[in-house]
Symmetry: C2
């Protein structure tokens, strides 16, 4: 068990807080994933410096990196979904280097975020915008206990499928005593 700090997941993936030095290692796959246009509504064509504040999250949020044999292969950012009277609900975003997908990196980051949110005392986690055609993401979040609350119709302009829905997903941490850290 681990309390949302640093830890190994699976066989090879280490997750730790991202430092400023990590951003140039995250940015290439951040830019590649945004350019693919299939999973995130970020501004397009952001340079290294412009993109930084879209991903490197200040406190009380945080950004982590996933390391596979020492190389940065993924990243997640997390924090309160809203300030003030909504700050007991966490949110998070995830990116895995397309060259390192299907190796459990996304799952390790997801489990890490759930553990972190629970350790920080968040009551739940809300994902605001999961692209409904992103089957690997939906499958992972469902496997980790998230439910789809709603699909906002035609809210995402997908390069291959045109206008597709964005799912609002939710995990109630107050009700789930199960911690999936396998």
């Amino acid at each position: 068990m681990h309390g949302g700090g640093e830890g190994f997941y699976g066989a090879l993936v280490l997750i730790r807080d991202a430092s400023d030095d990590d951003w140039p290692l995250i940015y290439p796959f951040f830019a590649q994933i945004v350019a693919q246009g299939t999973s995130y509504a970020y501004p397009e064509g952001l340079g290294l410096d412009e993109a930084r504040s879209w991903w490197m999250e200040p406190a009380p949020g945080r950004t982590v990196v996933a390391l596979d044999v020492g190389a940065v292969v993924g990243s997640a950012k997390m924090g309160p979904n809203r300030p003030g009277r909504g700050s007991h609900v966490a949110t998070a975003s995830f990116m895995v280097d397309p060259q390192h997908q299907t190796h459990g990196v996304g799952r390790a980051l997801g489990v890490h975020v759930i553990d972190w949110a629970r350790a920080q005392g968040y009551r739940s986690i809300q994902f605001n915008a999961v692209v409904e055609t992103n089957a690997p993401a939906l499958g992972l979040w469902h496997a980790l206990g998230f439910q789809t609350l709603a699909t906002v119709p035609a809210a995402f302009d997908h390069p291959d499928h045109g206008l597709v829905g964005l799912q609002v997903m939710f995990l109630d941490l107050s009700a789930t005593a199960i911690s999936d850290t396998a």
Copy 2:
């Protein structure tokens, strides 16, 4: 009819773009409404300068004020709900001076935002977080054609009711030819 610019609504309410000079007139009811804690998840206790960027929206968004006999009695901010591939969905937030509620100001602002979003070519409007105990707001949005897509459970810490849900609301502008400007 009007194209989302400036216009009279009802008998007395004029809506126009907010200027920098308007912010000190908006801030008192912004602060009062946030302090009441029943409708918005903003940081609490923000001063005049701190709160400005939470309400005065830069382009491509905008902020308007509602004037009743020349006095600023309400405000709305509006713009894209997400950047990039989600930027065809608008969002908006509304505040009406508690001393001037139930005089049609909220409705006038709501109609104005719908007209503006349609004129700007947005495909839909999404409200991300309407407090489920805010019956006047829910009644107004339903009357203007919004539907509730989902309620995120216990996502808002209400000072009187404890944890209550936040509704995700949606209006499809591509399907509704009706413009309620009565």
